[in-house]
Amino acid sequence: MKVKALKKTANELKIEVEGVGHTLCNLLQKRLLEDAHVESAGYDVPHPLASNAIIYVRTKGRMKAEEVLQSAVEKIRETNKEFGKELQKVLKKA
């Protein structure tokens, strides 16, 4: 997974990520849009066979784009871990 910054201003970030597709980007976009600091977030998979994606985030200005991106990833990881724990708990009972 390689990350390349395509555009970077005070409140904007556009990155190209290698080896990432809809799976991760869609999760990220959803989480970013739930964040009150985010003005706009989106992604594009330029070619269905090449596995790289372009992720774009723009904040309202209070926070930096990479900060909201990072907190979104953290939140997703938390939810995923919670899901894993819950699953183990339920499977043990069953």
């Binding site: 990350v3 869609n26 999760l27 953290e74 997703i76 990881r77 819950e86």
Partner: protein, 273 residues
Amino acid sequence: MEIEVLEKDEKNMRLLIRGTNVPHVNALRRIIMTEVPCMAVDEIVMLENSSILQDEIVAHRLGLIPLKTDLDSYNLPEECPCKSEFGCNLCRVTLTLDVEAKEGTKTVYSDELKSENPEIAPVSGKIPLVKLAKEQKIRLEAYVRLGKGKNHAKWQPVSMCTYKYMPKIEISKNCDGCGKCVDICPRNVYAKTENKVEIRNLMACILCMDCVEACTQNPPPIEVSWEKDTFIFSLESSGALSPERILSEAIKILDKQLKEFESQIKVKKIEES
């Protein structure tokens, strides 16, 4: 988040997941289909083949046989320390097939494949491979490797993996009990009792809305909708791995990808500052 096991056996699992969203369950589904590894025949060496099927066809049929997978003792070829193209004991299992139709026509089944590791064997021994006429022979060696579904469907550990919203149906008191919805519903969600329509099997509903359209009343007393944060997640293993292992493996892979992405954006920040 809340999970309820609706159904579970060696091959199938159906979960009711509350308090999550589409991107999350969809990510898990996509990872199960494309990233969770399992074993399949990857290469064969044909030593002798006098059957009427060409080598390629036999190879293709072998590739599609689901094999019991051991994820803990084997490595993906690209991650194996051996770095060899041919593979080593940690990233390759050899199957051999040596059959001849001695007396009349013979169907060769998957249980005739001899594995060097009895743990890695066809899920079912009753999969027909090829039919041999008298005196025809097949002798081959097949190399099994771990792989991912994104490279070839033979490496998909599931035959089916889907999710749907939890349906929500409300029938108001205005219903005249004509029973049109009972007859049209393709999943038999409703049942008619005397002058009333009852919901018999809510989870079977596929939200097709045929019942609403078939209703003679205006406005229709049936309201079909779905719970936005509740999903029915079903998965059917090919037999390679247990369904719970597949799902927990998917959770692990998703976390690994997120962790890598996180560390990558952190590195980016340090570089720029």
